[in-house]
Structure formats: C-alpha cells, structure tokens
Symmetry: C2
Subunit: 392 residues, 2 copies
C-alpha cells in the first residue's frame, strides 16, 4: 500500500518513531528495571512430559528453547543480565541454572517452601528496596508464551514508565478472544493515556459470566504480569499482608550476610501462602478506581498461558491442512485431523483418528483427546495417591 | 446342575467317552498324520509390531507364546514332532527355527519365492507321497487363534479319519457369527455323518450377500484349514494345476539328494502363484457336490484369523469393565472405553478417549481407531512407496 504522506511527512513520521523508541529505551535503562521471573510450580498439565524436576517452564514445548529461556530472551533487551531474578523451587533450581548460564547462581533463588506469588515477588521487592531505591520490578511467569516479543517489549516499556512515575501498580491485561473460564478477568474503568484504571479483579468466571464480560468490551484477561516499583509493592504488602511483609523485611535485612540462608529457610515458610492477586491487588482495588492506583495496560502481543496440551495444539503451527500437530521423526497421516501427537524419536502413523492427544516419553504414554486435555492433572493426582513416585 | 442319569448310566457315558477318545487317538496315530504349518506372509495389518522379519506368526500377540508356537502346541498331541513341516520364507526361517526348537532345521522349509498356498501345500503332498504313501496332511495357517484347543483336536481327529477313508478333501468350516466380509464362505450341501458335502466356495462377499448367507444357515466361513491324504491332494493338483504339479514332483524327486537346494531354487519360482482354494478347491467343486468329494466339517472351536488390531481387541480379555485392552507396565484410565493400547514397557494413562488403537514400538507409533484398524496396511504401503525400509 503506497503511503499517502508526502516524502517530507514520511521522513517526519520515521524520525518521530525513532525518537520515541530511543527515548523509551533510555527511559527503561534509566528506571532501573529488574525483571523477576517466577518459575516455581510443579506442572501437572503437561504430564507425562512435565515432571517435578522437568516442569513446564524448563521444557521446550514450543520450539527449540525452553519456556524460561524464551522468557529470559524476551526480557533481555530491557535489562542488564545482572538485574534478573528467578524465583523457583529446589527441584528446578539446578536445571534453570543450566538453562540460563547468563545468570549468576545467586540470581536464581529457590524458595524453601512454595508460598505462591505474594511472598515470592514480595521478597524481591524488599530486597531491591534496600539495594536500589529506584528499582522498578516486573513479575513474569516463566511458562507463558508470547508470540510478539517486540510488541511485548513495547508495552512493557510503557508499563515501566507508568510504574516509575508514581505509586502505581500496573497489570498487563490481555484483550480476551474467547469466553475463557480458566483465567481471571480485570474490569477496566477510566481511561488515562493508553492505560485504564482498574475497577475490579474477578476470579475465573462461569461460562455465562465470561460471555457477559466479553460483550461489555471492558474486561481483560489477567495475564499475571505486573510492574511496580519496589517501594510501591513493599508498601502495598505492608498494608495488605503485614505479617508476611515483616517476615520478608527480616529476610531482606539478612541478604548478603552469612546468616541469610538460615534466616530465609526459617522465616520464608512462615509467610502466607497466597497469590499477589488475592493478597494485594484484590483488597487494594476495594480502595476504588482512583484510590487504588492500579492500572491495566492493554497487552495485545499474542499471549497464552499454554495451560494444556489442547492449548499447545492451538498455539503450534499445524503439520498439515487437517490441523494435525505431529512432533515425530517422520509421519504419515490418512484421514486424521486435529490431533496432537508427540513422539519425537519415532515414526508416527495416524489413521482415521480425530482430535486425539498422544504424548510419549521414555517411561509413560498419555492417550487422551483435546477436549479432555485439562483433565490430565488427574493422572498426576492418581500417581501421587498410588505413590508412583518415579512417574511424578 | 445335577446329572439326571442314574449312577450306572453316568458310568456308561464316561466309559463310552473315554473309549471314543482313546480310539480317536489311535486312529490318528495310525493314519500317519502330518501337520503342515504355513507361515509365509509378510504381515502388514499388525504394523508397527509386525515387520518383514517379525511377521504376525512369530509375534506373541495373544499371551506369552507366539502364534506359531501356539499353532505347534495345539497340534503337538496329534502327531510326533518329526512329522511336522513348516513352510515359510527366508525372512522368517531363522526366527521360526529359534521359536520351535522341537523341530529339525530341515523341517522348516523356506520358499525361494512366495507362491501362495497351492505350491506350498502341494510340495508337502508330493514329498510325503514318496516318503509315506499313507500320509494324511493337514494345512494350518500359523497366524490364527483358536480358543478351544481340545475341541479343535476333536474336530481335527474326525477330519483326519474322513481324509484317510478315501479320496476326500476336508475343509474345516467355521459357523459364522456375523456377516463378515473379510472371509471366504463355503456353502454346505448334503449332510453325511457330522460333515457336509461342499456345494460351492464363495469369495469374500459384499455385506448384503454375507447377510443373506447367514440367513440361510447353510454357509460356513472358510477357515483355511484343510485335511487330505498326500495321494488325494497330489492327484487333485495334477488335475487342476498340472504344470505346477509337474514342477513339484520334480522337486520332490530331488529331496534328500545334494541337488535338492538347487532344484528347489530353480523350479519352485516357476510354480503358479495361486491359493489352494482358487487353484484346486473351486475348480474341483464344479464337479458337483458328490463328484468333488469335498467335505466341510463344522468347526466350532473359537476360531479367529485375528486379521487386525480391532480383531485382537475383540479377542483379548478386557483390562476393565469399559472394554479397554491395555498392555502396559501399569495403567490409569479415566472415562476411557473400548481402547486397545499396547506399550508394554511404559505406564499408560488413557483419559476420555474411546475406541482408539495406539501401538508403540521402539521406532514407531501407530494412532488409529478400531473402526480404521483394517486400513493399517496402507501405512505399510506408504512406507514401501517412500522406501522407509527400516520401518517395514
């Protein structure tokens, strides 16, 4: 399509765009941005590929790189590598250190006990507040996929600027494309610049409710990605989870000393086991649209939390016109459609089957359907109940 | 159920039964019965388990023993082991020799070229006619399952007696239980003792025709198991396939000499490539019900040619009430029904899937449905066409 602007105008637009990007880049560099990657979680929905020591975030479900490597690579242009933190568990710490050789071992923190996102991101806030009073934190789950990495960074730069500008809590909200019942929703209120003030957080809705949300056009999916200054988050934690905030402050005070490991091990398990959404954002949103200073930044960059084999099937480029996704050493399909088959070292033949999910690993074989993919967690429950430890 | 016979009557029945069995046994021993097991065939319908060198007959599809071992064990009580012949191909000869250590290597004959059943069984007839003029041959495909081995031997003893009594050709006919379109049918005529004279052989019928056959009650499935004296079969071959008969006679004449291997290799491939059904029985049945002297012996002993994964599913004892048949190192099913899953070294989880067939081997994975199981041969065709030799 030929541009309708005269040459001078085009040049102007080009220059303005360039200036904007360069300015954003320096703004981000100036604001002391610290990405915190949350990589805990045991991962049951991708069984038999995901296991306790091979959770979803350390698997290459999508392409050559693992999800945590992709998460790191996506953020790397926005922060020096010394500024990254990864919060994970002991089962995964070693594997993550292997997968992210760019980071120092001390940057990969293993929780002594799983305590959900509020203590995890809170610990980062209290630590960073001591180390760098200007610190802006971003919280990023390690197991999401984002198709448009550039658009992601563009949106994130705005979120960082917004968080650096005051005691603002910024959540990245994804415009919903279907009445998904597996996500939390954010109700957007008053518009301010390219963000919205948040009116309300809503837990996973019923189908009917999700449809209503979509119809209003005012709701966004809660992506689980947040940006705020260390100061703002620490203050919010002190207000809404004071007991946990005190414990985290005590742990942060021991950072860099020989006592740290012992203090961390002793106090962290006493923190409340709660998500930052439930523990901080929801109660805070009760202070009203203006009072809470929670902002939703619409984030349209091909986000998916990749919550099941069916979601992975949808996300993947199909192997053929019949929407089969087959990861195999070779394959032959005949009258087969809509299948997800993973058997990377074998020749796969699919004949007359539809919408099946078949996943093969060294010691296990899952046979299910796309419609039943969200029930795969029940297999893991069964394995736990029957103490089939080596399959967990 | 208590017997209604008085004690004396019960004793009489018992004694009569015993006398009958002992008499049958000696009758069989007297008639010089030679079982000929036909174990050629490349086996494509059980891909990926069946391969050129691991055809169906050398697989343990059903239980601990391979199909040819089961065939041998089923016949062993009726003939000394020196009297067995196995006719196979070069790909399978070594494996069969390993699986049947009871037999001498010379008893396992590899055809220099696949020539279907008429030359194979014919060769046995011409050889045996020279070695033992009283020989009665039975022809048994190595890849059928028979649930009732005792009833099988009982019926076979009668077939042998009938074949020894004159120039009779005896075919074992299975009472059909469904309008199967995958088998040939035999139309029974006049009853004579517990056998019927055969009126006609019919090729695999259409569904509608098969239904009509069933409705008449006069049709049997052609089991592919035949019994006749070496003399009778040799004469029938001379009449209906004279060129092949001459070649076979020449090969038989070289038996036991140093020339044999060369003669066999040179002449056998010149035999007609035709089944004994097409080449001998069908033309002979044109001589009329009495003239042909072909008899059908109803054979109700749980026979199946086990022609597909679906047939194997049907044949197998189900693992659970939902008719799943799962051969695995362990399994968990949830809302799954009617599946056949083979993955003997792995833990299998089946969730919400129905009527699927999943078969895993070291280098291949088949995913299909019971309804599509008969199309598995097309996978093998594809592998041949694309020269994926190592998967054949």
């Amino acid at each position: 399509m030929p541009s309708r602007l005269p040459a001078g105008g085009r040049r102007y637009v080009l220059r303005a765009t360039l200036v904007f990007f360069v300015a954003s880049f320096f703004a981000v560099q100036k604001t002391n941005f610290y990405p915190v990657i949350l990589a805990g979680g045991s991962g049951t929905r991708f069984w038999p590929r995901s296991r306790r020591r091979r959770a979803k975030q350390v698997l290459a479900l999508d392409g050559k790189h693992t999800m945590i490597q992709q998460t790191f690579a996506r953020l790397a242009p926005l922060a020096r590598r010394q500024r990254f933190w990864v919060i994970t568990n002991r089962e995964l710490q070693g594997e993550i250190a292997r997968q992210l050789p760019q980071l120092q071992r001390a940057q990969i923190v293993a929780e002594p006990a799983a305590r959900n996102t509020a203590p995890a991101i809170g610990l980062a806030a209290f630590l960073l507040r001591r180390l760098d009073p200007q610190a802006v934190l971003g919280m990023f789950p390690a197991d999401h996929v984002i198709a448009g990495a550039r658009r992601f960074r563009h949106t994130l730069a705005r979120a960082i600027a917004l968080a650096a500008a005051g005691p603002n809590l910024v959540v990245m909200g994804v415009p919903p494309s279907r009445p998904e019942t597996g996500y939390g929703y954010i109700e957007a209120g008053e518009r301010t610049g390219d963000a919205y003030r948040v009116r309300r957080f809503t837990e996973k809705p019923s189908r009917a409710r999700a449809e209503k949300f979509l119809a209003t056009g005012r709701y966004y999916w809660n992506s689980g990605m947040f940006v705020w200054s260390a100061e703002t988050l620490a203050a919010a934690l002190a207000q809404h989870l004071p007991r946990t905030a005190n414990l985290l402050e005590e742990i942060a005070a021991a950072w860099g000393t020989r006592r740290f490991a012992a203090v961390f091990r002793r106090l962290y398990p006493r923190c409340e086991n709660i998500s930052v959404d439930y523990g901080v954002l929801e109660p805070r949103s009760a202070q009203g649209e203006r009072g809470s200073r929670i902002y939703c930044l619409p984030a349209d960059f091909g986000w998916s939390d990749l919550g099941s084999w069916a979601a992975l099937h949808e996300h993947h480029a199909a192997s053929d016109a019949a929407r089969n996704v087959i990861e195999a050493a070779g394959c032959f399909t005949l009258d087969a459609a809509g299948n997800y088959i993973y058997s990377p070292k074998k020749f796969v033949a699919a004949v007359g089957i539809r919408d099946a999910v078949v996943v093969e690993t060294e010691d296990a074989l899952l046979v299910t359907t796309r419609a039943h993919a969200q029930e795969v967690g029940k297999v893991v429950k069964h394995l736990r109940a029957t103490k089939l430890e080596k399959l967990l």
